[in-house]
Symmetry: C2
Subunit: 379 residues, 2 copies
Amino acid sequence: MGMNPPAVTGAPLSEVDTPALVVDLDAFERNLDLLAATVADAGVKLRPHAKMHKSPWVALRQIERGAVGVCCQKVSEAEVMVAGGVSDVLVSNQVVGAQKLAKLAKLNHEAIVRVCIDHIDAVAEISAAANAEGVVIDTLVEIDVGAGRCGVMPGGAALALAQAIAGAPHLTFGGLQAYHGSAQHLRTPEQRKTAIDGAIEGTAETVKLLADNDLNCAIVGGAGTGTFELEAASGVFNELQCGSYAFMDADYARNKVANGEPFDTFEHALFVRAAVMSRPSEQSAVVDAGHKACAIDSGLPVPWAMAGADMTGMSDEHGVIDITTVNEKPERGDAVLLIPGHCDPTINLHDWYVGVRALHTPDARVEHVWPVAARGALF
Amino acid sequence: MGMNPPAVTGAPLSEVDTPALVVDLDAFERNLDLLAATVADAGVKLRPHAKMHKSPWVALRQIERGAVGVCCQKVSEAEVMVAGGVSDVLVSNQVVGAQKLAKLAKLNHEAIVRVCIDHIDAVAEISAAANAEGVVIDTLVEIDVGAGRCGVMPGGAALALAQAIAGAPHLTFGGLQAYHGSAQHLRTPEQRKTAIDGAIEGTAETVKLLADNDLNCAIVGGAGTGTFELEAASGVFNELQCGSYAFMDADYARNKVANGEPFDTFEHALFVRAAVMSRPSEQSAVVDAGHKACAIDSGLPVPWAMAGADMTGMSDEHGVIDITTVNEKPERGDAVLLIPGHCDPTINLHDWYVGVRALHTPDARVEHVWPVAARGALF
């Protein structure tokens, strides 16, 4: 299974089949370099989230710039990362079920593959899986610092789990997972600071409580592309888990920074290249990318470098762009670049990345084609 | 690429890994039988849309019940269908670009693979591709009967294209493509009838205009799961293109029929089986299926057979169910079935179907595991 690549290395951009996931390699490398330098300056570590890119190819480029490893959300993602050469993975999520835990344990023969818990039963479950494979599994406690998803409350509940981990055979206590997902997309810097101040407070209090009980947090992990500067400066978090920074997307671009300016710390490096397959009227262009090429959980994609254009609707295989006020209207057969609303689930729709050098120039050329290797890694 | 199957044939339901796409084979077969009987009674043909299921395995089961072939939206989908044994495919969409047209033409050596046009330039383009391969391509004119997407207006514009096709070397004129997509999901039968009455009127007028000009429409195709009874009874449409009827989804279940009753002509036969990975409170259960397992373009999934449960949010790998008023609350580790909001793009997220016999009984057992073979067929 899996489709053939939409392009070959060395081809000009015009020969990339549509719709395809196109990476601006220059912007991508600048994004990686920038965050690597920022975390180094802050004296913290970077463990980027591979749930975003689903690609060991990308992970290795993050690691060669200093990342300590990656995060995953699924054991099957971790399997792909380890097979692709990543030696330190944190599954920053709950893993429930003997089948999944057996795979997690087995993977620890090949790499360090850590996991999180938020329930006392998980201690015995993971310990048993580790025992069956003869490995030791580093286990973190997930605390809910505002995301309202998994995790126990900061404080005593976390201490109880940490003590249980520390006392269990075949497990080591690895620290805290404290990610505030919904804070990433709060639009103003004040809103984000308020949310992350709360996350830092709960995390700091828990780290102290654990230390008072002789439990050291080797990892205090969290943060995303929208808030990482706050966690980096907290003095509490020591590993940042940003994912989207490598590629950016339309939703992160709607965040505001000081003075109401748009968040543009990172550049748009990811696009869906689509082609106009119909021009039913002067007002509209229909492109060959719909729900199966662009996830819309964070809104419709945004046409790139087409002033006045507005994507007004999508169906499974069609996207409709209102071009009423566009001066140079795209014609039937023309290609357009779309900025995904949300990078993670959009990438997960594609089998291949097409990495293009000098994307926005006449010399645009395919330099790398690599698989979205963990696409569909749901388990 | 592609993940390992989440289950093996013969396994009990409890051993199906999560999240997985599960088909209730009994309900699925009843759905196929019902529509096959209905179209036979109406004296029309069925050409189900394979964009929905992406699976030759499903297509062949539709064809053995009388379907004349399938529709696809993409040439790469058609390639998968032909490779899987389907001998008659209509690409019910515009195909623009020499690369795609070359593949379409080549495929006509192995099967009948028809295509649609809505622009005069397409005539020469498709003719050239057919000539290069030494094949004849049956070509339909797409008319816009209300969907507001691709297609020319009914009447003279369609006649001009049909005449151009009929006069072009290496092409045959195949008829009209007249699908009213947005009408499928209008909630009341009156709204749907008004919309489809308009579609029928424009289609009938065009068929007559073509006949007056000695152009016969072998295929007058359209209709979907929400409106097929109207097109079937129209005396104009002769091929129905329903897709979702085989599996149903939560959005179609929101349609109403006479007396305000819910649309339940077809049974829910498709589910995402997910597991509870956290129970952070009495009010909420977090399952291991998020945006990467369930498309939400037509709303969040709906928990099956869990009265009072309401899915309130999803992130990429998490789904949150409000279970405040649920009597038998699912516990950590329990499996739940989710009815997808929209079947087509949800299926496209998965690599495998898990076909289960007697799904909602204690004897539930995996009878077939088959690939979503055209998943990711975007080109």
